[in-house]
């Protein structure tokens, strides 16, 4: 009843000895995630929260049979850390790091096409299957188990929408933050495809924002391939062209592509109702179920 992660997922935390990595590894373990190893160059042999640390991801996989990584590594070294995950053939790599140069991500993206590893992020809050596992920084306490899938480009907006859902007793199967950067691994379409195939997901919420054309592609996919109902939300209706709204990817280009209106229109054309407020998104989901 989930996609991409569950309680069998064996997690290695890259950067587990840093401030962020250490704190969130603790939070993940507390949530019940199967964190089996840490990987930090030069820190092999240490332990963090009782979890053994290795110098390389390769060693962590050898010794602990890890199959997924969560990356808390500063921007200057993050692309290298993602390459390490990809080259070790993990099933899943979740890159939390914000601020990785786009040209580094273009190189990562090239390699991604040559491996079977799924990348989520970067610049994302991660992924959670409530009651089973969370890989990332999402606050576990706001989620509840249920049958609504959620995919979003933004972290705190995800929390807002989840909060509205949970308050009405609408639990979640899996929630994924795919990240706010121009070049990311898992796209809306990838996540929607997985939710459509998941028998325990009965409705999906998709939270997009201005910039790029991923939402338009998602709308096309929904129209052509999905039976599971989808409710949408698009942030950035009031954003002026040419200004980066926080996320590196959230920018309406000078030529007018990537606007909120074009995304809302595309979703509506595919039969997806788009809420004007987060509360309205929850209304739509309630109507579906």
């Amino acid at each position: 009843m989930s996609i991409f992660v569950d309680d069998d997922t064996r997690v290695v935390v890259q950067g587990i000895t840093g401030g962020e990595g250490k704190f969130h590894a603790g939070q993940m373990i507390e949530y019940g995630t199967n964190v089996v190893a840490g990987a930090v160059p030069g820190k092999g042999g240490q332990e963090v929260h009782g979890v053994p640390v290795y110098d390389t991801v390769d060693e962590a996989v050898e010794a602990e049979d890890a199959d997924a990584s969560v990356i808390f590594v500063p921007p200057a070294f993050a692309a290298d850390a993602i390459f390490e995950s990809l080259d070790t053939d993990l099933d899943l790599a979740v890159a939390i790091t914000e601020g990785i140069p786009t040209q580094d991500m273009a190189k990562v993206n090239k390699r991604l096409g040559e491996t079977d590893t799924r990348l989520i992020g970067p610049n994302c809050p991660g992924i959670i299957t409530p009651g089973e596992a969370k890989l990332g920084i999402l606050p576990g306490n706001i989620f509840s188990e249920g049958n609504v899938g959620l995919v979003s480009r933004s972290g705190t907006l995800t929390y807002q929408v989840v909060d509205n859902l949970t308050e009405r007793g609408l639990g979640q199967s899996t929630a994924i933050g795919i990240g706010g950067d121009p070049i990311i691994g898992t796209s809306f379409v990838d996540a929607l495809e997985a939710f459509e195939a998941d028998t325990e997901t009965d409705a999906v919420v998709m939270c997009g924002e201005i910039g790029g054309e991923d939402e338009e592609q998602a709308a096309k996919f929904i129209g052509e391939h999905m039976d599971t109902p989808v409710a949408g939300f698009i942030a950035g209706r009031t954003a002026p062209p040419g200004k980066r709204m926080g996320h590196a990817g959230a920018i309406v280009s000078g030529s007018g592509t990537g606007t909120a209106q074009s995304k809302i229109d595309a979703l509506n054309d595919a039969g997806v109702p788009v809420g004007d407020t987060p509360e309205e998104v929850a209304d739509h989901v309630e109507d579906f179920l």
Binding site: F23, H24, Q27, P75, A76, G99, I100, P101, T102, Q103, M105, A106, K107, N109, K110, P125, I137, L138, P139, N141, I142, R153, S154, G155, T156, L157, Y159, Q160, D163, G180, P182, I183, C207, E209, I210, G212, E213, F233, A235, G236, R237, T238, A239, P240, G242, K243, R244, M245, G246, H247, A248, G249, A250, G254, S255, A260, D276, T277, P278, E279
Partner: protein, 381 residues
């Protein structure tokens, strides 16, 4: 981050791309000294981050000293789409017979850099892209290998550039790609590249944007960024390290996380108000950050009321509340009404801690936004 034309051209010139002779001037006297050295005709070009400078009156061609003086006086200090012009580039006029468009940017959908060339240069290339997309030849570059020189030649020939200058244009394009890579640019555009009567090729304009996320390894460009700020509030945001965008409304907005802050802006608009800014204070909300954020919105004269919306994920609501109290207690008088909404981890504890003598409190995002819009309306009435 946008570079000014003169900054981009100095990078072009250092890399060996032919650019017209030019000087930067901040006063009419300096501009006249510059034309005396350069000669006529000379272009006087406003250095502000605004598209369509020419149409807006920010670029003039002087044919003698009298005109140069008149144009420098007109352009220096002028308001160009909301930006005050405080420097001009004085540049030798180019006697051209043809204009091309040449650019390098990141194709997000493909995840690859793309080279673009068009013989329809000198005009708004976005209109060309819209109306006649085939007039722009494109070539994607594999980011792992970098540019193969043949690719620059291929795209130039494909665009239909005259054979006698094609290799010179390809060479410029190839150098632009090197600059794109070396400087972590997100976009480089030369519109137009001019072909002179003598069949020389000159980069007559220069747009160069840098990936802000790469400034940690581009220290020279980071310094240029400091020179590029034109708005005091944007400069202040840069110093504080906030993601900040100034807008034209009167409801100040502070929040955490780009998506949620954008949503708060949208809701202000949805409930009939007008957002004054985008301000993301990011994770954590120590008193110092909160104070800095409030300083930003309070020092914006356009702001009549403020909404402060925090969804505490890992950040705890009680800590945020303490930060807000501490920050506001520093003021003898709160300059603008602040509505606070806290949600998520320890939000209830936080709501109780908040000093309601200093702030108004609302439970939901929708209610908080509506109250702030109302507060702003009351000020303007």
């Amino acid at each position: 981050m946008k570079l000014h034309e003169y900054q981009a051209k100095s990078l072009f010139a250092d890399a060996g791309i032919p650019v017209p002779d030019s000087r930067l001037a901040t006063s009419v006297d300096e501009a006249l000294d510059a034309v005396d050295e350069i000669g006529y005709p000379a272009a006087i070009k406003a250095q502000v981050h605004v598209g369509g400078r020419g149409k807006a009156g920010g670029i003039k061609i002087a044919t003698d000293r009298e005109e140069a003086e008149q144009y420098a006086e007109e352009i220096l200090g002028m308001d160009l789409k909301g930006y005050t012009v405080d420097q001009v580039l004085v540049e030798a006029g180019v006697d051209f017979v043809d204009e091309l468009y040449v650019g390098v940017t990141m194709d997000r959908g493909e995840g690859k850099p793309v080279l673009m060339v068009s013989t329809e240069g000198g005009v708004n290339i976005e209109e060309v892209a819209e109306e006649n997309p085939d007039a722009i030849a494109r070539e994607h570059v594999d980011p792992a290998f970098g540019l193969h020189p043949y690719q620059a030649r291929k795209v130039v020939y494909e665009a239909g550039v005259d054979a006698d200058v094609a290799l010179d244009v390809a060479s410029i394009l190839s150098t632009l790609y090197d600059l794109y890579e070396e400087n972590d640019a997100s976009e480089i555009e030369v519109n137009p590249v001019m072909i002179t009567g003598d069949r020389d090729v000159v980069a007559a304009d220069a747009v160069m944007n840098i990936d802000e996320d790469a400034l940690f390894r581009q220290s020279d460009l980071a310094e240029m960024a400091q020179e590029s700020y034109e708005d005091d509030l944007e400069r202040k945001a840069g110093e504080y390290g906030f993601d900040y965008v100034r807008l034209s409304g009167n409801v100040g907005i502070i929040g955490n996380g780009a998506g949620l802050v954008m949503t708060t802006l949208d809701l202000v608009d949805y409930y009939g108000g007008s957002p004054a800014n985008f301000l993301d204070i990011g994770g954590g909300a120590k008193a110092e950050r909160v104070t800095q954020a409030l300083d930003m919105v309070f020092s914006d004269d356009n702001v009549d009321a403020v909404v402060f919306n925090i969804f505490g994920g890992i950040t705890r609501g009680d800590e945020v509340a303490k930060g807000i109290n501490e920050a506001l207690e520093q003021f003898d008088e709160i300059p603008k009404k602040v509505v606070v909404r806290l949600a998520g981890t320890n939000a209830e504890e936080g709501m109780e801690i908040l000093n309601t003598d200093l702030v108004e409190v609302e439970k939901t995002l929708e209610d908080a936004v509506q109250r702030a819009v109302k507060n702003a309306d009351e000020v303007t009435q």
